[in-house]
Every structure is written in C-alpha cells, then in structure tokens.
C-alpha cells in the first residue's frame, strides 16, 4: 500500500466512524446565537442617540492636527520592532 492509499484508507475509516456516530451524524447545527450582531457601518444614526450623523460635533479642517503615536495595547508588546518576523 503506498502512502496515498494509506492516507485515503485512513480518511475513509475516519469518515465511516464519524458517520456512524449518532452524536455527530445527527448534529442539527443549533447553537446559541445571542450577542452576534456587529455594529453596522452603513447606518447614519448615532448609537448614542445624540446626533443624526456620526461625527456631527467634530469639525475637521486642520490638515496637520495629528502626530501618529500608537497608544493602545501594542505598547504592552515589546515596543518597536523591525519587519521580517522570526528574526
């Protein structure tokens, strides 16, 4: 038996065993589904109800108002790195 035949035989054995297992075969796919909604991006109404549109209170006319400094959770991971992964 070559490698390929061996792998396919193992696959068939596993498929047959799973298909014969009523717990798996009869699985109806029901599960809890609360809390799955994502905030929609296309609605204009504010989630807090204050304004009809998302950024109504924010004026934006300063071209250089921002210096980029990451201040989130990334600061917990060893600071600045060089690209390239597992170096």
């Amino acid at each position: 038996m070559n490698k390929r035949q061996f792998l396919v035989a193992a696959a068939i054995a596993g498929i047959a065993a799973a298909a014969a297992n009523p717990a798996l075969a009869a699985k109806d796919g029901k599960e809890k589904c609360f809390g799955i909604a994502k905030a929609g991006a296309n609605d204009c109404a504010s989630s807090t109800g204050g304004h009809a549109c998302a950024g109504q209170a924010t004026k934006d006319h300063d071209p250089n108002e921002w210096k980029y400094v990451a201040k989130g959770t990334c600061t917990e991971m060893g600071g600045s790195l060089k690209a390239g992964g597992k170096s």
Binding site: K3, R4, Q5, L7, V8, A9, A10, A11, I12, A13, G14, I15, A16, A17, A18, A19, L24, A25, K27, G29, E31, C33, I36, K38, A39, G40, A41, N42, C44, C53, A54, G55, Q56, A57, T58, K59, D60, H61, D62, P63, W66, Y68, V69, A70, K71, G72, T73, C74, E76, M77, G78, G79, S80, L81, K82, A83, G84, G85, K86, S87
Partner: protein
C-alpha cells in the same frame, strides 16, 4: 449642463478630501460660515470612515488606540481610491495600506492582524450556504474520494503569519483567557470560519493547513492529504476530515472528471 454638474460635484468631493481646498464659492452666504459647515461635513465623513473601519478592525483599533485609529481612518479614507457603495467593504484595502504605513513601521505585525480581522469580517457577512455533510463523503469509494476536488466554504480563509497574530487576536476577545504575548514574534497558521453565526478562528496544524491550502488551490483530495503528510508526519486524515466537516469548512465536492475531460 451635465459637464457643469459633474465639475461642481468633483469640486465638492475634492473639498471634502483636501482641507486646503474648501469649495466655499459653490455656496451662497458668508464664506466663513460655509467653511465651518464644510469642516463639519468633513468631520462626519471621517467619523463614518472611523466607524466603518472600527467595525471590521476592533483589534487593530485596540492595539493602536482610538486617537491613532481615528487619524489612520482619515489618512486611509483620503488616500484610498474608494469606489465601493457599501461601507462594510470600505476596509478591504487596509491590510495592504498598513503594511506600507510608515508610522507603524515599528509594529510590523499590524498588517497581518488586519488580514486576520478582515477574513473574520468577511466571514461574518458571508454566505449561509449549507456545508457538506459526512454522508456525502461516506458514499464515495476510495478512488472517487482520492480524486474528488473539494470546494472550501466561501467563509473559510487560511491565514498564516510569521507573527503571533492568533494570540494577539485572542487576547483582545471579550471572553479572553489569554493575555497579550510580551513579544509578538512567533508564527502561526489559522483557519477562519463561521460555524453558524459567529466568525471564529482557530490554530491549524501544519498538515491541516497544507491540506486545506492544497484544496483551495484546486488540487484533489489525494494530493492534499499527501501534502499534509509531507509537512507533518503524524497527520491523521481520519481525525482531520470529520473535524473539518463538523466545522463546516467544506462546501461541496466536484465529482472527478474522467481522463481527457479536464475542464
């Protein structure tokens, strides 16, 4: 007339993207008041971009912080040639954008975190198509099984990275039991899928990843299993395949074509 309207619309759109180019002359009334209103309009635009991106990239937002993310959303929105009417698709180009985003050169894992989040986002809004059942496979004889070409479910994505993006992502989930790694280095292979309603990702073994990648490339199941065994000596197709089906990773099998009948 149509040309004139197009020119006015162009001028207005340019003014929304370029703070130096307020199209005040298009409006009646005091220019100062018009400029203020246009600034509000721009603020809304940026806020909508921010919200659209935050919906798809909550972990990137947490990683860089909200103010950085807001500025990033503005920069992305203004630099991006955006033709999509659906804001849920607005962030599609963000991973590539982040890869070249100079302020994040020190966080080179960010683009891969974004790739993972986009795959999850796409899966969330993806197809409800029923996945393949075990019975379909159980009916195949060995040769047909080996020759079968399997289509992965459209919600499935295979994401590999040289960074620990799986751990980084999991540490940011509401029910997280893991903390952020102290060092983001360390590769991972992840399977993104949506078992029913909720998009998820899990770590894959080298063999699983190779096999699913091979199927995604259109190779037959026999080839896919051989590729898996080549990269992982203890790869067990008998355990892996039922698991994949339970997770809904496979959509359908295309019956093998007879020789000389390749499509």
């Amino acid at each position: 007339m149509a040309d004139e309207l197009a020119a006015i619309q162009r001028r207005m759109a340019d003014g929304l993207l370029d703070t130096e180019a307020d199209p005040v002359e298009l409006f009646r009334g005091p220019p100062a008041a018009t400029a203020k209103r246009l600034a509000l309009y721009r603020g809304n635009l940026t806020a909508n971009w921010h919200r659209a991106l935050a919906g798809a990239y909550p972990v990137v937002e947490a990683l860089v912080g909200e103010s950085f993310f807001h500025a990033l959303a503005r920069r992305y929105g203004r630099s991006h040639d955006y033709r999509e009417g659906d804001l849920n698709r607005f962030g599609a180009a963000l991973p590539d954008f982040l890869a070249d985003f100079e302020p994040l050169a020190g966080q080179p894992y960010m683009a891969d975190v974004a790739r993972l989040e986009w795959a999850l986002h796409v899966a969330h809004y993806g197809s409800d198509a029923a996945p393949m059942t075990l019975a379909v496979l159980a009916a195949l004889d060995p040769q047909s099984l080996a020759d079968a070409r399997i289509r992965l479910h459209p919600n499935v994505a295979l994401v590999a990275s040289t960074w620990a993006i799986g751990r980084i992502w999991r540490a940011h989930q509401p029910e997280a039991t893991e903390t952020l790694p102290s060092d983001p280095r360390g590769g991972c292979r992840l399977i993104v899928h949506r078992p029913r309603w909720r998009a998820e990702c899990r770590a894959a073994t080298a063999g699983e990843f190779a096999a699913l990648q091979s199927l995604a490339n259109g190779e037959c199941l026999g080839d896919a299993l051989e590729r898996a065994a080549a990269v992982q000596a203890d790869f067990d197709p008998g355990g892996a395949i039922p698991r994949w089906l339970e997770e809904g990773l496979w959509l359908a099998a295309t019956p093998p074509t007879r020789q000389g009948e390749h499509p």
